[in-house]
């Protein structure tokens, strides 16, 4: 029984580690995709050509 408990704890930790790593990697891919999209040529030029607002 004790061995089973050790195994459950060990595999839970390993699964958590793997899930954390995968989540982190997939979040990074999503973030980089969004950043590339944000800096996409057309969008960037439109933004950069805007006149500064009066408030500014």
């Amino acid at each position: 029984m004790s061995g089973l408990l050790y195994a459950i704890v060990a595999y839970s930790l390993l699964a958590s580690l793997l899930c954390f790593y995968l989540f982190n990697q997939l979040s990074t891919i999503r973030f980089l995709d969004m950043e590339i999209e944000r800096h996409n040529g057309r969008n960037f030029n439109e933004e950069s050509l805007k006149e500064p607002s009066e408030d500014f």
């Binding site: 390993l14 990697q25 990074t28 950043e35 590339i36």
Partner: protein, 156 residues
């Protein structure tokens, strides 16, 4: 390649370093044995991977950083055969090689099948994670080149 390798080395190393002592507590009665060569060289190898990951992420890219990372990488590379041969040279906690069939060695066929199936699945996992890591590097380089063009004012 270095980024993916060090990240995955750290992930798999941590997997062993976390689960190993739990297994050791159940089987050996102690979580860690400082006199066992395999344990300590593997722990050191994981520490090298941790250093590489932290150094790559925290230090600015330059000749000095690359030289330091390369030197530590070579140290880790040299540690791999030492770790692999550790149980052949010293058998304090870990037994010697048991996979090869001999007079006093060898595995039950069922255990052997399970072992090879597990190794195969972990290889697949490693390849999948390496592909994800490679994709991240590709996107990061893509983004960096775009940012570089914006800085130069030549983006079109």
């Amino acid at each position: 390649m270095v980024v993916s390798g060090s990240e995955l080395g750290l992930l798999f190393g941590l997997g062993v370093v976390i689960s190993g002592p739990i297994w050791g507590s159940a089987e050996w009665g102690v979580p860690w044995d400082w006199a066992d060569l395999r344990l300590n060289t593997y722990g050191l190898l994981t520490a090298v991977a941790l250093f590489l990951v932290l150094a790559i992420r925290s230090q600015p890219d330059g000749e000095g950083t690359r030289d330091t990372i390369a030197a530590l990488g070579l140290f880790g590379f040299a540690l791999v055969p030492i770790t692999a041969m550790a149980t052949t040279w010293f058998q304090n906690r870990h037994p010697g090689a048991v996979i090869i069939d001999g007079d006093e060695t060898g595995l039950d066929p069922q255990i052997k099948t399970l072992l090879f199936a597990g190794a195969f699945v972990f290889m697949l996992l490693f390849c999948g994670l390496a592909l994800i890591s490679y994709e991240i590097q590709r996107l990061r380089e893509n983004l960096n080149s775009r940012l570089h063009l914006i800085d130069e004012g030549t983006f079109s």
